[in-house]
């Protein structure tokens, strides 16, 4: 992630020349480079402490609840981060989660948990990747605006989900639910933390791939990336396909969490995933951001209702605080604009 923020010199916060050591380009300190990302983690830790102090005991059960509450959003945020890094946006993530959830609930069979759920998982990942691939082709080769393309495909995927599961229902085998959301290691560690760890490893490996460098390059400057020999269109198709794939994974985790199917349930994740990515410090203009920040962003959004619940604050305030924290976080990140001397840079 450190490379991420250096490859994209933000025009706003960039150091004026001359302050560097012996005229060499001075690398800004780690804290400055990752200010927004660290802010997200600070907010999360602060909220976690507030929650922790209210608890009588922090048992594995509480750990499991907290870990599970943000997992779907973290997985969905993985894909959204990648797409936002290219400077695009994916509004079809929520409906894709609904769609994979609906499909999994159709295939899931408590009589044959292993066979049915492995089939369901394969189908869900395939559908997710295909949905994302279609988005990518439309955006990259159709040369259409991502926001409106994914709005349209969101409507289509949501419609298919409704056709597959018109009414909420279906039974997910308990074994599957426990596999993803239960505890292990003598009932001490939440299983979803393994999923989280796997995602972090996947991200750090992904950061080393050429594809990832290309994604940052495309997001920083499409024209410059093109001139440097990056196949911009193919990079975008990959980004959206990965986003669809992670939406499929998020749908699988969501299915384990709710143990049932609902063709509308996933829709809230669309905007929450964007909020998580933005809270995590990524720029919607593309080219800067990291999944590590998105994790904090997602858990901030997920922990707010729990904290409010423990402090006896009406749950009506939940959305209010989510919105407020999102706006406060982006405003803090934007304060640099006020210091900019060159008025052209403000536009």
């Amino acid at each position: 992630m450190s490379v991420a923020t250096t490859t994209t010199s933000t025009p706003i916060g960039a150091d004026p020349p001359g302050r560097g050591r012996q005229g060499s380009v001075r690398r800004r300190p780690f804290v400055v480079r990752n200010a927004r990302l660290l802010l997200a983690w600070v907010i999360f830790v602060a909220l976690f402490i507030v929650y922790y102090r209210q608890l009588e005991a922090f048992r594995p059960r509480e750990a499991r609840t907290i870990a599970n509450s943000g997992m779907t959003l973290v997985i969905a945020g993985f894909g959204q981060t990648i797409v936002i890094l290219t400077g695009g946006i994916d509004l079809s993530i929520g409906p894709l989660i609904s769609l994979t959830n609906s499909v999994a609930s159709r295939i899931g069979d408590p009589e044959a948990p292993r066979r049915s759920m492995s089939l369901a998982a394969t189908a869900a990942l395939g559908i997710g990747a295909l949905g994302g691939f279609i988005n990518g082709v439309l955006v990259a080769y159709g040369r259409l605006q991502p926001i409106i393309v994914t709005l349209a495909t969101a409507s289509i995927y949501g419609g298919i989900a409704l056709a597959i599961r018109p009414d909420p229902g279906g039974t997910i085998p308990f074994e599957y639910t426990d596999l993803l959301t239960g505890l292990f290691w003598g009932d001490q560690v939440p299983r979803s933390l393994v999923v989280l760890a796997a995602l972090v490893v996947a991200w750090s490996l992904f950061r080393r791939t050429r594809l990832c460098t290309r994604i940052y390059a495309v997001g920083s400057s499409e024209g410059a990336a093109y001139m440097s020999g990056v196949d911009v269109a193919r990079t975008k198709v990959w980004a959206y396909t990965l986003s669809g794939l992670s939406a499929g994974m998020a749908g699988l985790f969501y299915t384990a969490q709710t143990a049932t199917g609902n063709a509308l349930a996933g829709n809230v994740y669309t905007l929450n995933a964007i909020a998580a990515v933005v809270l995590g410090g990524a720029s919607l203009a593309g080219g800067s951001g990291s999944f590590i920040g998105t994790i904090a962003g997602a858990y901030v959004i997920a922990i707010i209702p729990t904290v409010l619940f423990f402090y006896d604050v009406s749950t009506f305030y939940q959305q209010f605080f989510q919105g407020l924290i999102l706006l406060a976080s982006v405003s803090l990140g934007a304060l640099g604009v006020l210091r900019v001397r060159n008025r052209m840079e403000r536009l």
């Binding site: 259409l144 409507s155 419609g159 909020a275 605080f321 999102l326 982006v330 934007a334 604009v337 536009l347």
Partner: protein, 347 residues
């Protein structure tokens, strides 16, 4: 599409030499094309209405009765009012996702403050409060977007969450009061066979079109949408224009809130949610570029009618929510391909 016969040949694709300027319509240099060539999006949008009406008439002859068509227009006027604000914002290159709860909050202010009585003073106070609150929300959106450079998507998303929370807290989860008589009359009343809602839409439409085409502010909107820096260098107060644009969008949302309250004779939670994406769809189908700087309200009117007709034509063939959603998405995609393609990346 069967309307394709009336449309002249595709305007020449801007080759790599002429630079990427894919947008048709006003402002294209060397526009020696005829009226049809310049207004291709308009022709297509209004042609689509014709196709939909004919299709609906074949499927269900009762649909094209004057009474039903008038009813469709009234429904379109609600969407058209909210889409008027959305058009103004999209022309600057932005988007407003906060209209959902902005209009909901306004509607609830109207019924809660207005009470069930019909005292003129109290009603005037409630109406002014509702419209002022909606405009103030727009101003806050505009300030965040113009002065803090928060991306419109994030700013309005955050405001939407904040307003949702405020509404829940204010109403304690269950809105009180009924729609005042004048709001009911405005939404469902008629004078000499012409619904008041349509008259209001005609007035609003005229005002918006005149402002966009004939006023300094209108020209500035297009300038900001085309290139904020160029606009700034030409003396356009870019940030002021943005704030006014979002304030106008808020006002339109508030107006829609009053109309919808009158139409359903009460306010309820979530009444605006189903209007956000259709309002964006109406703008896009009407030929306004989501990137800003080209388009206008004449197209959005056609877009609003198209969206409403599409929804209701699909409901008469009893295709179900799922099929409607799928076709809706496909139509938006098709419209994008007809006139929404971007230029190739070359530099």
């Amino acid at each position: 599409m069967s309307g394709a016969g009336t449309i002249p040949a595709r305007p020449q694709d801007p080759g790599p030499d002429t630079g990427p300027d894919p947008r048709s319509g006003e402002g294209v240099p060397g526009g020696a094309r005829g009226w049809l060539g310049q207004n291709r999006p308009l022709v297509i949008a209004y042609g689509l209405i014709l196709v939909l009406v004919v299709a609906a008439g074949i499927l269900s002859p009762g649909f094209v009765s004057p009474a039903n068509l008038r009813q469709q227009l009234v429904l379109a006027s609600f969407l058209g009012t909210i889409a008027a604000g959305q058009t103004i914002v999209v022309l600057t290159g932005g988007i407003d996702l906060s209209v959902a709860w902005n209009l909901n909050f306004a509607a609830i202010l109207l019924t809660q403050l207005g009470g069930s009585g019909d005292g003129a003073g109290r009603l005037a106070y409630a109406t002014v409060a509702a419209l002022l609150a909606a405009t103030a929300t727009g101003v806050v959106n505009g300030l965040g977007i113009a002065y803090l450079r928060i991306p419109p998507l994030v700013m309005t998303l955050g405001m939407n969450a904040v307003l949702l929370g405020l509404t829940l807290v204010y109403t304690n989860g269950s809105p009180q009061g009924r729609a005042p008589g004048f709001a009911r009359e405005l939404a469902i009343g008629r004078l000499a066979g012409i619904p008041y809602a349509l008259m209001l839409w005609a007035v609003l439409g005229t005002v918006v079109i005149v402002i966009l085409r004939r006023s300094v502010f209108g020209r500035r909107l297009y300038a900001v949408g085309n290139n904020p820096r160029a606009a700034y260098l030409s003396g356009v107060p870019v940030r002021g224009v943005l704030v006014i644009a979002y304030a106008a969008c808020g006002l339109c949302a508030g107006l829609t809130g009053i109309l919808l309250t009158g139409y359903s004779s009460q306010s309820y939670l979530g009444m605006g949610d189903s209007y956000v994406l259709p309002s964006v769809a109406a703008v896009v189908i009407g030929g306004t570029s989501i990137l800003g700087g080209s388009g206008g309200y004449t197209g959005t009117i056609a877009g609003a009618i198209t969206v409403v007709l599409l929804q209701n034509t699909l409901s008469i063939v009893d295709i179900g929510q799922a099929g409607r959603s799928i076709i809706y998405g496909l139509v938006i995609l098709a419209m994008l391909f007809v006139y929404g393609r971007g230029g190739r990346v070359r530099e």
